[in-house]
């Protein structure tokens, strides 16, 4: 497992659970035999023909980061084109002393493909209901947080406030509850978003091709699905209940989204859940092979790390510091020079300022991970009981105006939208 965190560090019992719920929760945690097969599809889940899963898993299993030496990394940095083996060298511990050189080269690639432009977007959580038990997540079904689902009027109100700030790209998020936040509900939100924004992304539960096609028709442009970890064994221990437990259905979500006509897809592992080097390799290869299969698809990567979550103060994320994260991102950039890289507000302002000059092409601003609280967060009214709890704490709370000014001050050109709906 390398430097994966111990699962016991991630699990917590929130106060307020009924004895029955608590007993079921503990059973799921302690008795693997009561958990569903992590590789078995549930009824209604579409199965597509795709060998990507097997290829990614095989590459991950064969990867031994400790095998690489400084000489390998030096050789890699001389190569014009970064191969899969080069990528493995760049993600290895042996590459750590070469971080500055990697960053120089990564920066040159970023400038070549994107110039000095940086896109800005904001996420909007429209619901936080969730049917899954993922032990590390603040939205999990055994965490008795304030649940909420915005209705159409409330969504529109939030969008109005966000649009007024000047934002033109929005990412809509729900918790993963198909029964509460149905596909049609998400479609309604897309249609509203299309009124106020130029570009609409979705980060919701994975769905079938026809459902992605339906949402594309209602205004969605791209789909983000985080695999959390590509390490199936570890995945099984962390995602104990719900449709999210089905690892292969989640893996193929991006491909189904593209089959359904989405213009772009985004990938990520939640770095820190398992060996981050292997997860980074798998993420990059997932994106790389899918783009080869769908060359017209816009590909982007994110790089979340575990952060402290609501009702659970003492999570110890896996060992991935800012230097390691920077190394992963530089490796991504050198291997996939054309890919977008998004750095979220989970990271600090100083990290985001630095990383936008090296690899990042998109940052969020004006972020709230709570539900229905843009009015209070954007200073229009005071916080109320009607807001749902937040999924995790953010680190960089800059508004759009502040982010815009800061990027400009760094010599970068902020772009709020670069998209024509066709």
């Amino acid at each position: 497992m390398g430097n994966a965190p111990k699962r016991s560090d991630l699990i917590f019992d929130a106060a307020g659970l009924s004895p029955a719920a608590l007993a079921r929760k503990h059973q799921l945690e302690r008795d693997p035999s009561c958990r569903a097969d992590v590789m078995a599809y549930l009824p209604g889940m579409e199965v597509i023909e795709s060998d990507l899963k097997d290829r990614v898993r095989a590459a991950m299993a064969a990867y031994d980061p400790s095998r690489y030496t400084a000489a390998d990394v030096r050789r890699t940095l001389e190569h014009n084109r970064i191969s899969i083996d080069d990528l493995q060298a760049l993600l290895s511990p042996a590459a750590a002393p070469f971080l500055e050189r990697m960053a120089e080269r990564a920066r040159a690639e970023t400038v070549r493909h994107f110039g000095n432009t940086v896109y800005i977007f904001t996420p909007l959580y429209i619901a936080n209901h969730c049917e899954n038990y993922c032990v590390y997540c603040g939205f999990n079904c055994y965490n008795p947080i304030r649940r909420m689902k915005l209705d159409k009027e409330q969504i529109e109100r939030e969008m109005e406030i966000i649009a007024k700030s000047g934002m033109e790209e929005i990412l809509l998020l729900t918790g993963e509850s198909r029964s509460v936040s149905g596909v049609e509900y998400i479609g309604d939100a897309c249609e509203l978003a299309r009124k106020y924004f130029r570009l609409v992304g979705l980060e919701v539960y994975p769905m079938n091709t026809d459902e992605y096609r339906y949402l594309r028709g209602r205004g969605a442009d791209y789909v983000t699905v985080f695999q959390e970890t590509y390490d199936v064994e570890q995945y099984e221990k962390l995602h104990l209940l719900g449709h999210k437990r089905v690892w292969p259905y989640r893996f193929d979500a991006q491909e189904r989204a593209l089959m359904g006509g989405m213009r772009g897809v985004a990938f990520s592992a939640l770095l820190g859940l398992s060996d981050f080097r292997k997860d980074a390799l798998a993420t990059a290869l997932h994106a790389y092979w899918l783009q080869r299969k769908y060359p017209e698809a816009e590909i982007s990567l994110s790089c979340p790390r575990l952060r402290p979550i609501t009702n659970h103060a003492d999570v110890r994320p896996g060992e991935i510091g800012e230097r390691e994260l920077c190394q992963v991102l530089c490796a991504y950039r050198l291997f996939l020079p054309f890919a977008g890289i998004t750095v979220s507000s989970r990271e600090s302002a100083s990290f985001r300022n630095g990383i936008t000059k090296i690899v990042a092409t998109k940052v969020s601003a004006g972020v709230s991970t709570g539900i229905g609280d843009h009015a209070s967060k954007y200073g229009e009214e005071s916080a109320s009981e009607k807001e749902g709890d937040e999924q995790f704490e953010i680190s960089d709370a800059r508004s759009l105006a502040k982010m815009y000014a800061d990027l400009t001050g760094e010599g970068l050109q902020p772009v709020l939208n670069d998209y024509v709906y066709v």
Partner: protein, 257 residues
């Protein structure tokens, strides 16, 4: 003055500058200086960048009197390109359009087949159509038939700064096609732009070469000078280049009566 007659004709318009400037990948605040230092009369812009309500719209940064050449980047087929071109017209970008159709997000290579279709449709709608294409003689002929106002072959993959990787094929287009041939994409240095002009290209388009340089306006000026030099050399007719050795001062066939 004979120089006055050396004009680049695109559709119904004539230009004295043969440098088409790109506006992507660098700060909007530099656009005006770049145009001025480039001496450019045509500037390309991505419709998707202009299609914004943001406080900084690229259209506000382009000096008056410069012809806008909106491109259809982001289009994946002819239908999408046609829609984007119409949107450009609605946004007040005029009747010029540069067709860019890509089905590949990695290399951004143009789709020649779809480009022919879009050219035909947009020319019929009265646009002055400049299609970006992979240099293929048959496709170029089809584009002429479809109503293009110029042909824009790529020199190398877009943004690569690798220069005239396709020089031999561009030369064929120059030799065989009556329309202006404008090298688009790949030109990374003024020397490469100069060479394209010496070959007989009617104009050069550059963007990334400037955007990735240390000083955008200064590099714009360097390109202007190189393009002018190349054009003058072309008009003067380059002296011959000997493949090897020297020419005998007494002709080998001098004994013939």
């Amino acid at each position: 003055m004979p120089e006055d007659k050396d004009k680049l004709i695109l559709g119904d318009s004539a230009f004295t500058s043969r440098f088409i400037l790109g506006s992507g990948k660098y700060s909007l605040s530099l656009v005006k200086a770049a145009v001025e230092d480039a001496g450019a009369q045509i500037i390309t812009l991505s419709v998707r960048r202009a299609n914004t309500q943001e406080k900084e719209n690229i259209l506000d940064y382009i000096p008056k009197g410069v012809t806008l050449l909106p491109n259809t980047s982001g289009a994946r087929d002819a239908k999408e390109a046609v829609r984007i071109a119409r949107l450009a017209r609605e946004l007040g970008c005029g009747d010029f359009v540069k067709i860019e159709i890509m089905r590949d997000t990695k290399y951004l290579l143009p789709d020649n087949q779809e480009t022919i279709k879009a050219t035909e449709q947009l020319a019929a709608e009265g646009f002055t159509v400049l299609p970006y294409m992979y240099p293929d003689l048959n496709v170029a002929r089809d584009l002429v038939k479809a109503g293009a106002a110029a042909i824009m072959p790529l020199g190398a993959p877009i943004g690569s700064n690798k220069g005239l990787a396709t020089a031999d094929f561009i030369q064929i287009l120059i030799d065989e096609i009556e329309l202006p041939i404008i090298v688009d994409a790949g030109i990374g240095a003024p020397s490469q732009a100069c060479r394209a002009m010496e070959m007989g290209c009617a104009a050069v388009m550059a963007n990334t070469a400037l955007a990735t340089s240390g000083d955008v306006p200064r590099m714009a000026r360097a390109f202007r000078l190189a393009i002018e030099a190349g054009r003058e050399a072309y008009r003067a007719g380059l002296g011959r280049v000997l493949a090897r050795g020297a020419a005998a001062s007494d002709p080998l066939t001098g004994f013939l009566r």
